[in-house]
């Protein structure tokens, strides 16, 4: 049933001698909340502007809702709600007037109930002139105008930059609401935690090319999981980057070997086991940054865990520096399978009793 809502093949766009898009392939299926990640200047906004028919591609093909974005721009726009990355409103119009103008220009005004609900939820004063709005408030106007429209496709270009955390949760609730309704969302962002929370599929763009695309799980499988435990040396295990300090062992393991490693650890009753799935941060850095920055991120994560373990902090071992995916915490049973976490976890290394080792493990979802 999956109908393709956005399909771009080999999109190219040059501005003078600058090659902004260098063969972008982007496919978004109906009903997806698709994360579109990339650093500043990678081509996110240019891609979106091509998909909206504001820019004309120099090469490649693009289809939005089955139509040609350049030729059929107006027809496509009737079914789209778009929030630009940098919202500039008309200084003489109030926020409320801007919302109604935008929704009416889309061809169908906003239902009054939706409009009132959103203005209330986003806590916007619609009677103020747009000139008096802060960046966050301008963003809210564009978001309300988008969410109040019953569109088939929502294209949001870094929509939460400037929103406070409270408003960000309102934003996420709205995304879930329209996704439940069956709408498709293309969410460009560089806030990784947001993408991890909201998006089922992700495309990563760098230097005008899509370098990675797929579901979050697929992407994570490409990456190594960091495993750390206290116990015997990892002989015969498919670990790389192994570090052994006394009983403490740390290394990384390819996604497909994780079950085998868990079994091995379970059999040998390894303690203080932590498995950290690769965060989007790492995926991101791997594709944008140089390798050194990836290593730094990985090192900091491990450091955070060791620190957490050393002070016997809570089981999550969350590294403070970067947003991590929501982790599942549990215990490895004797068969090497992950069990739900026991209600009360004795802090390690406080428990001397070897019969009930306080294994802690985290598993990718």
């Amino acid at each position: 049933m999956a109908e393709t809502v956005i399909e771009a093949r080999g999109l190219e766009k040059r501005f003078g001698r600058v090659r902004a898009l260098d063969g972008v392939d982007l496919v978004v299926q109906a009903g997806e909340v698709h994360g579109f990640l990339g650093p500043n200047g990678a081509g996110k906004s240019t891609t979106i502007r091509v998909l909206l028919g504001m820019l004309r591609a120099n090469g490649g093909e693009a289809g939005v809702l089955g139509m040609d974005p350049w030729r059929d721009a107006v027809a496509i726009h009737r079914r789209i709600a778009y929030v630009p990355g940098d919202v500039t409103l008309w200084p003489g119009l109030t926020g409320g007037e801007a919302i109604d103008t935008i929704t009416r220009l889309r061809g169908h005004g906003a239902p009054a109930s939706d409009r009132a609900r959103l203005i209330d939820a986003f806590d916007l004063d619609p009677r103020r002139k747009a000139k008096a709005y802060s960046k966050g408030n301008r963003q809210k106007v564009a978001l309300i105008a988008a969410f109040a429209s019953e569109a088939d496709l929502y294209i949001l270009d870094e929509p939460t930059s400037g929103l406070d955390p409270l408003m960000e949760s309102v934003f996420q609730a709205e995304i879930r609401r329209i996704a439940e309704r069956g709408a498709t969302v293309l969410l460009s962002s560089h806030i990784l935690s947001e993408v991890e929370r909201l998006c089922s599929t992700v495309s990563i763009i760098r230097d005008g090319r899509i370098v990675e695309t797929g579901t979050l799980d697929e992407l994570r499988h490409l990456q190594h999981t960091v495993v750390a435990y206290r116990g015997p040396e990892p002989e015969g295990l498919p670990l790389t980057d192994v570090q052994v300090v006394g009983e403490h062992v740390r290394g990384s393991v390819a996604g497909e070997h994780v079950p085998a490693v868990l079994r091995w650890l379970g059999e040998r009753e390894a303690q203080a086991v932590t498995l950290s799935p690769p965060s989007l941060e790492e995926l991101f850095l791997r594709h944008y940054g140089d390798e050194r920055r990836v290593e730094t991120a990985r090192g900091e994560r491990a450091k955070g865990e060791q620190h957490a373990e050393a002070v016997g902090a809570d089981a999550s071992g969350r590294a403070g520096a970067q947003p991590e995916p929501e982790e599942m915490t549990g215990t490895i049973g004797s068969d090497g399978r992950l069990l739900p976490e026991p209600p009360e976890l004795p802090p390690w290394p406080a428990s001397p009793d070897p019969s009930s080792p306080p294994h802690r493990g985290r598993h990718e979802r």
């Binding site: 909206l52 789209i80 119009l93 919302i99 220009l105 619609p126």
Partner: protein, 545 residues
């Protein structure tokens, strides 16, 4: 005042290209007229020219009151008012750009967040303005002295332009503190400078010509206008008049008063604040605001241009009242002087109307230019809308052609409203005195429609083909071609081709027995071609870049 020096350097560097354009335009006009007049007009010709000028209140209003027939005096009277208006615009735009404009763009916040004193931005702006005016004065002197004009007179001319420029800068700074947006501040300050021109013009038009028609003693209204003060220094006056620096004292007084006001406002100014505050508005948008028939966001465009439409309309009404009151006065004044009657009779036979009709035609010409400016401004605004709000508007069901069309339509209607308001008010006012000029004024207004079409189309073409030049190209084409049309005759016959380039040269004369409309049809045809090309291109080019 920490950081004043750095801000001054930054301001000068930022404006170096704009400054160059203005100085070249102002000093260049002065040089062109100087060269042309000097070569093409001997003393006899100049005497005839001044007599002609003295005989036509419309010319007195538009150019100024002559103070002799020497080369310098004739140059001054034919050019000074334009130079002064240009210097005034140069400095009001400069002042608004560096006050309200900086706050609008968010630059002021960035700058004030660094280690600069509270007064540093204002002081550096004043100093940068002074430097710009000094450059302008130097350019004027550099043109005048080598070409043989008297040094004292040239100094007075330069000082007058500097005086007008300084007062204009202070008016711009005040406007920047009074109005909440730079567009409103620019408009208000420009209207003030325009008023100076017209108030001086009224004084000159009501002036009293000397018996030999070599000079005109201006009436009291000139003393209400800074441009008039400069004119009253009579820089290159022939005996028995003499150059006189005393009117310059009025500039000193005005600068002191305005500066005190600027300082008072600045001392209580908060970032983003304005004397006229932004009020709360409606929490919902009306259906009209979102009205967009056939993909043309007409409701939005009309709302955005509402302020400037009203301002242009108001200017037209004021000019209509002015002309309605002034025309009978100047016509009767002409009848009183024997020699003038002779000249006017001869001119009237050439152009097909009486003295009053000639006056009406000349003033309606100004209104025609204003209509063109209004039309062009509405269309040029599209580029600003595209860059600022294009991402929002072009992602809705509004089409590109519809968007362009909405601006063209509002521009055309504004121009029509300007012409209609002037015609109705002026003709109505004259009719109230039993002077029926309805047909004449309506015909004159109609001759300007092809001009409006040309400038609408030119603006659309600029937005479509040369969007990066939108800030100046249109205005250069309007003012430049207007000046070419006005001044080319002063340059002599070998420059006639230049005059032919100006669309203003091709406006029909409805007062003639058999008006020649060929030029008008050509203008319309060129406008249609330009519009079609612009529409084609605006649909095809990348938006927002």
């Amino acid at each position: 005042m920490t950081g004043t020096g750095l801000l001054l350097l930054a301001a000068l560097r930022r404006d170096r290209l704009v400054l160059l354009l203005w100085v070249v335009a102002i000093a260049g006009l002065w040089a062109a007229v100087l060269g042309g007049l000097g070569a093409a007009f001997d003393e006899e010709a100049r005497r005839a020219l001044v007599a002609l000028l003295s005989a036509q209140p419309a010319l007195l209003l538009l150019r100024g009151a002559p103070a002799g027939i020497g080369l310098g005096a004739v140059m001054f009277v034919s050019t000074y008012a334009f130079l002064a208006v240009m210097a005034g615009f140069m400095m009001t735009f400069f002042a608004v750009r560096h006050s309200r404009g900086d706050e609008d763009a968010g630059r002021a916040e960035l700058v004030r967040g660094t280690a600069v004193g509270r007064w540093a931005p204002l002081v550096s702006t004043l100093l940068a303005g002074a430097v710009q005016l000094a450059v302008l004065c130097a350019a004027i002197l550099a043109v005048s002295l080598p070409l043989g004009l008297e040094p004292v007179g040239s100094l007075l001319l330069a000082a007058s332009l500097a005086g007008v420029g300084t007062v204009a800068m202070l008016v711009g700074l005040l406007a920047g503190r009074i109005f909440p947006t730079s567009r409103a501040a620019n408009g208000a300050a420009a209207i003030v400078v325009g008023l100076w021109f017209f108030v001086r013009g009224i004084g000159d038009a009501l002036g009293e010509p000397s018996a030999d028609l070599t000079r005109v003693e201006a009436a009291w209204p000139v003393w209400l206008s800074p441009i008039g003060w400069g004119a009253q220094t009579h820089p290159y006056a022939d005996a028995p008049w003499e150059p006189d620096a005393t009117p310059l004292l009025l500039f000193v007084a005005a600068v002191l008063v305005l500066l005190a006001l600027v300082v008072a406002l600045e001392s209580r100014h908060e970032l983003g604040g304005s004397l006229l505050p932004e009020r709360f508005g409606r929490g919902t948008g009306s259906v009209l605001l979102g009205w967009s028939p056939a993909g043309a966001p007409l409701g939005l465009t009309a709302r955005l241009l509402r302020g400037s439409v009203l301002a242009w309309g108001l200017v037209a009404v004021v000019l209509g009242v002015l002309v309605g009151r002034l025309a009978p006065v100047v016509a009767s004044a002409l009848e009183d002087v024997e020699q003038l009657r002779a000249i006017v009779g001869r001119l009237g036979a050439e152009s097909g109307g009486d003295a009053e009709a000639m006056f009406l035609t000349a003033l309606a010409g100004i209104v025609g230019v204003i209509a063109c400016a209004a039309a062009m401004q509405s269309v040029l605004r599209l580029r600003h809308e595209e860059v600022a709000h294009g991402e929002i508007v072009l992602a809705t069901a509004a089409s590109r052609l519809g968007w362009l069309g909405s601006h063209l339509l509002v521009g055309a209607l504004t121009a029509l409203a300007v012409l209609a308001a002037f015609t109705l008010v002026a003709a109505g006012s004259l009719a109230a005195d039993g002077d029926d000029r309805w047909g004449q004024l309506a015909a004159i207004a109609a001759t300007h429609l092809p001009l409006v079409a040309i400038y609408l189309a030119a603006a659309a073409a600029i937005v479509a083909f040369l969007p990066s030049t939108v800030a100046w190209l249109g205005w250069v084409l309007l003012v430049g071609l207007l000046l070419v049309g006005d001044f080319a005759p002063l340059l002599g016959e070998s420059w006639e081709w230049l005059q032919n380039l100006s669309p203003f040269h091709w406006v029909a004369n409805p007062l003639a027995d058999d008006p020649d409309w060929t030029g008008s049809w050509w203008l319309l045809a060129i406008a249609v071609v330009l519009l079609a090309a612009a529409a084609w291109r605006f649909r095809r080019r990348d938006a927002l870049v």
